[in-house]
């Protein structure tokens, strides 16, 4: 009930999250969309692959910060979660193909997070060929934020729901993020275990107009231990994320683009810490895998 009384405040936070995801997902999107439409699938794939890697890692982050689930009881909490995947040097360049006949046949050029596009010079003729486009985003991390509702507990199980949408505003396409999952207590079957242990399955999806379609799946186990108001948690998860990019290039010489890229992260280890005071909690965790990712948030309810 306390959670329900806090709804007006929660709306403020939900608005904050809406603003964040709007800025993160659609800021300057018109530039990106019209820029991508200049190129065929080969050129675009390497350029935006790191965006898929990092965004995919974000999508699969932050869905749990406790494994403590009662067998039967009422639980309702609303969390505002921010995620950030770090942009490393590996995400700033990729190996692109030079035109047929060029020597060398490949060269390094900038991804969406890189600097100036690379240039390759043909050893035989001196002809030059430039990488697709300079990096468009100069950032140390890729953020994402979303509200998350957790409802339970029924037979030691909680449902996890994420949803946020931004409307089609001016030329910015509609963006929608939603996710759904369950977390089930494992430790309820093994009362002797001194930790709370749970498993989770989570699926989420992000669409950005007709251009980009992300989906992510995470399956894992997590454990937590509370010490008064302090909670320590961690987990291991297998995950998969895919990014589908679909558009018709403005240059008629290129075929319509419909490519699906897999995110780099397939496994993650999570270590986190949180404070839980009555109906308020804060938490933060670090996630290690192919992509280093952090998530943190505040929660209401319990």
């Amino acid at each position: 009930m306390d959670t329900l009384r806090q709804l007006p405040r929660l709306r403020s936070l939900a608005a904050a999250a809406c603003t964040l995801i709007f800025l993160a997902a659609t800021g300057h999107s018109q530039s990106l969309e019209s820029t991508l439409q200049q190129f065929g699938a080969d050129a675009v794939k390497g350029y935006i692959q790191p965006a898929g890697d990092l965004f995919g890692a974000n999508m699969n982050a932050g869905m749990f910060h406790s494994a403590e689930i009662s067998k039967m009881g009422f639980h309702l909490s609303l969390d505002i979660i921010g995620m950030a995947s770090m942009v490393g040097d590996a995400q700033k360049t990729y190996t692109a193909n030079a035109p047929p006949g060029f020597n060398p046949s490949t060269f390094q050029t900038a991804t969406i997070f890189g600097g100036k596009a690379g240039v390759v010079t043909d050893a035989n003729t001196g002809f030059t060929y430039h990488g697709t486009v300079d990096g468009m985003v100069d950032t140390k991390f890729v953020p994402l934020a979303a509200p998350q509702l957790t409802i339970g507990d029924v037979y030691g199980t909680r449902a996890i729901i994420r949803f946020i949408a931004t409307p089609n505003v001016d030329n910015f396409p509609k963006a929608t993020l939603w996710g759904i999952g369950v977390q089930h207590s494992i430790s309820q079957y093994f009362p002797v275990i001194p930790l709370d242990v749970a498993g989770h399955v989570f699926f989420n999806k992000f669409t950005f107009g007709d251009l980009i379609n992300f989906s992510g799946t995470s399956i894992g186990v997590e454990a937590s231990k509370s010490f008064s108001i302090l909670r320590v948690y961690g987990g291991l998860a297998w995950e998969k994320s895919t990014m589908e990019v679909k558009y018709v290039p403005e240059n008629a010489a290129f075929a319509p683009v419909d490519i699906t890229m897999n995110g780099a992260n397939n496994f993650r280890a999570t270590l986190g810490i949180g404070l839980h005071i009555v109906f308020f909690s804060i938490f933060a965790d670090a996630n290690f895998g192919s992509v280093t990712n952090y998530s943190a948030g505040i929660g209401f309810g319990g």
Partner: protein, 173 residues
Amino acid sequence: MKTRFLALVVVAVLPLMAFNCITDSFTIALNLKPFNGTYPITAGNNPNYSGFFTVNPDTMYDIGSYTLDGASVYDVRIATSGPNLGTCAGTVSVNNTLLLTYNGPWTAFNTPQSLLTSQYIRRNQPGIDVLVNAVTKGSLITFTVQGSVTTTPVPAGCSLICSAYVQAYAHKR
């Protein structure tokens, strides 16, 4: 109040830390549609042929969205279509400046020969420069082909195809 304050901090700080770093001044390398010209060779006993085609480079990209900063030629290919006519040899000029010379077996040119790899084509750098300047300035480009074959009579349907591949560097308007 605390919640509102926190919301303000979240809204204000996170975007500032990250995606305000999106740059507007990036350069795009536009692969223009190939400048393709097909030159029919008149059927009969005349071994010589010539022709021209004109391209407006401004029609090769969205001129309303981009401003060109430069261009480069990254290949020119010569191909022939039709049965063996012996050896074909000739020149391709751009705006009256020699771009390349070609000289080789007709059948070899049945597979497009690239300036990058073919032993049958020789480029002329001043012609490349003229082509690059014309694309950058958006002026009309006229490709002129002249040549001859060694085997006659020429049957109907033979032609020579010239394709120039140009990349233009642009920024968003």
